[in-house]
């Protein structure tokens, strides 16, 4: 495998969207671009793969120049050696699983067959090699797509929403497998997703994208802990509560929440504000438990939903404003969390961020 960084810079207009990114991914690294749909994420991948030509741009990988609009260089997709995993996997419906993989392999008939079967075997699909895509489950399709993308020994891996087409039950297992593949691969990987949690799980580094720009780039933890803007805070999964702030005692800010309740924050603010707090900062306890911790904020909330996300459980709450907490499966079990239950949400004043709106 050719190992070398993937660098991509582009400026282009796509309808109403001004797309402009400049990024580099190291060999073995995975940059996950996360943003809402329409942010231009897929277009970034398409430019990298050579499926979309930007007005201005430069792309190179492993010492090979792929695109340079100034010098008139624009390698066609087949010459770029990208492994591209499409959003719906784009498996050829008229070819069996192994023939889908063999499509990417060069060489004689027997050699292509052998390599394709070997790859499928590695992805645990040895016995599904002859099945057509329509007879494969979502998880199996994703693995065939991955095997096919890797079959050409690509110099970069591009993944478009690799988990979106899967149902929630398959997703946890598939994301673990994908993480494993991304960890093992020695080439740079660029992944796009609309889900920050997915980006945090799969990427070594996360870039939050909106309206064609990378707003913030860093580790998922850094971005979540210090979001540059309310958009990034909201996107990373922080609950955003609106209310009115006033100065409180001991240099703290007290926010009276719209719809009831009060929150104390160490951030300064006055007037109409948005308070953001991350799900993992929120502790849940049975109502009436008088644990006297350091947490200044204590809200009585109703449980709206309980969703498993990987090894965590995301709990949708109403305070009455929507709020989310993340707890372990064991905690969810002990607290008997289910829709309709009433619990107490506590979080420290230092865990809140105030943004004036």
């Amino acid at each position: 495998m050719l190992s070398g960084p993937l660098s991509l810079a582009l400026e282009t207009r796509l309808g109403a969207l001004e797309l402009g990114v400049d990024l580099e991914v190291q060999p073995g690294g995975c940059l996950a671009l996360a943003g809402p749909s329409g942010a231009g994420k897929t277009s970034v991948l398409r430019v990298a793969a050579g499926l979309l030509r930007p007005e201005r741009g430069r792309a190179a990988c492993g010492g090979t120049l792929w695109l340079d609009t100034e010098r008139g260089v624009d390698l066609p997709p087949e010459a770029r050696h990208c492994g591209y995993v499409f959003q719906d996997y784009a498996l050829f419906g008229h070819l069996s699983a192994w023939r889908n993989v063999a499509f990417a392999v060069s060489g004689g008939r027997a050699e292509r067959r052998r390599q394709a079967h070997e790859l499928l075997e590695r992805f645990g699909l040895g016995d599904r090699a002859d099945a057509p895509p329509r007879e494969l489950s979502g998880g199996e399709r994703q693995r065939v797509a991955l095997a096919r993308a890797l079959a050409r020994r690509p110099s970069a891996l591009l993944l478009d929403e690799p988990l979106t087409a899967l149902d929630t039950r398959t997703r946890a297992a598939a994301s673990r497998e994908l993480k494993q593949v991304l960890t093992e691969t020695e080439v740079p990987a660029l992944l796009v997703t609309h889900d920050f949690a997915e980006a945090a799980l799969l990427g070594d580094e996360v870039g939050v994208v909106d309206s064609g720009r990378v707003l913030q780039r860093g580790s998922a933890g850094e971005i979540a802990a210090a979001p540059f803007s309310a958009f990034v805070a909201d996107f990373t999964g922080a609950a955003v509560l609106t209310g009115t702030a006033r100065r409180g005692e001991r240099n703290l800010t007290v926010v009276t929440l719209d719809g009831g309740g009060e929150v104390v924050s160490t951030d300064r603010g006055e007037g109409a504000v948005a308070v953001s707090v991350f799900p993992w900062e929120i502790e849940l306890a049975p109502t009436g438990s008088s644990a006297d911790g350091s947490a200044r904020n204590r809200l009585a909330v109703d449980v709206l939903s309980v969703t498993a996300v990987g090894n965590r459980v995301r709990v949708g709450l109403a305070s009455p404003q929507p709020l989310a907490a993340e707890v372990t499966e064991a905690a969810a079990h002990d607290l008997e969390l289910r829709a309709g239950a009433r619990v107490e949400a506590t979080f420290k004043a230092t865990a809140t961020r105030l943004v004036t709106v």
């Binding site: 398409r46 793969a49 066609p76 997709p77 087949e78 784009a90 419906g93 096919r148 993308a149």
Partner: protein, 272 residues
């Protein structure tokens, strides 16, 4: 359909509407089926076979098969890439091009024949170049068949290519296939049922072509007299042999239709 049990149970009304539908279908079946059946019933099988032994009938059959095959090869070779272009690219004036391609569909065959004479006939626009190499020649039959039949194929092929998942073509490219290979290895096999349906339509139209051929190429036995022309030539004088030729066309057309239905229904893996 319309049989859902809604609200309080009540006795079902007499199904006059269902009866009407059934009656309509019965009328259609009788109207379409009877003439076709009659082709085989009106004369004895022995007479059919005997009249096919005549040299005129054999010549007409052979000529029809040859010219139709030649026209079909031309249509497939040129029409398939042209339809692919129309389905996958957008360009200025595309709507005009598409309309132009579809025009022969609605053109009366006699007009098509006259148009061919005016363009590639001896006295036509391209006459100085082409001379009389087409008009009244077997090659002219092929040209006439191609002219009237190709839009049937191209339209269907364009629709079939247009319905392809574009990400398949993109995927083929990222997997190392050139544009030509993506076309040959992904687009064509994946669109095969649609292409087969278009082929059948064009084949049927070419096999039955009459007016344009008659005007442009004439009706000379062994040279330009295809089966439909031969039927017309003798239906007044030798009805039995006209009937025999008609029966052959019915059998051919039926075989064609069945083949297409089978290709369309066969596993998409068959093309692999």
């Amino acid at each position: 359909m319309g049989r859902g049990v809604r609200g309080a149970p009540r006795t079902r009304r007499p199904g006059w509407f269902a009866a009407l539908l059934a009656l309509a279908l019965a009328v259609v079946l009788a109207f379409l089926g009877l003439p076709i059946l009659a082709v085989f019933l009106d004369t004895s099988p022995g007479a059919l076979v005997e009249s096919l032994g005549q040299s005129e009938a054999r010549d007409a059959l052979l000529l029809s098969l040859r010219t139709t095959s030649a026209a079909l090869v031309l249509i497939l070779l040129v029409g398939t890439p042209a339809a692919y272009l129309l389905a996958t690219r957008s360009f200025r004036g595309k709507a005009v091009v598409v309309t132009l391609v579809e025009l022969p569909l609605v053109l009366p065959p006699a007009v098509a024949g006259i148009a061919l004479l005016a363009s590639v006939g001896p006295g036509g626009v391209l006459g100085p170049v082409i001379g009389d190499s087409l008009a009244l020649q077997t090659a002219g039959v092929v040209v006439a068949l191609t002219f009237v039949a190709s839009p049937f194929y191209i339209r269907q092929a364009q629709a079939a290519f247009g319905a392809l998942d574009r990400s398949w073509l993109d995927a083929a490219r990222t997997l190392g296939a050139s544009e030509a290979r993506a076309f040959a290895r992904v687009a064509i096999p994946a669109a095969l049922p649609g292409l087969a349906a278009g082929t059948a339509l064009a084949l049927g139209r070419a096999l039955g072509e009459f007016g344009a051929t008659l005007i442009f190429a004439g009706s000379f036995q062994g040279i330009t007299q295809t089966v439909p022309l031969a039927i017309y030539d003798r239906f007044a004088t030798d009805f039995d042999s006209a009937l025999a030729l008609a029966a052959v066309l019915v059998v051919l057309a039926t075989a064609l239709l069945l083949t297409v239905k089978l290709v369309g229904r066969s596993s998409p893996l068959a093309g692999a």
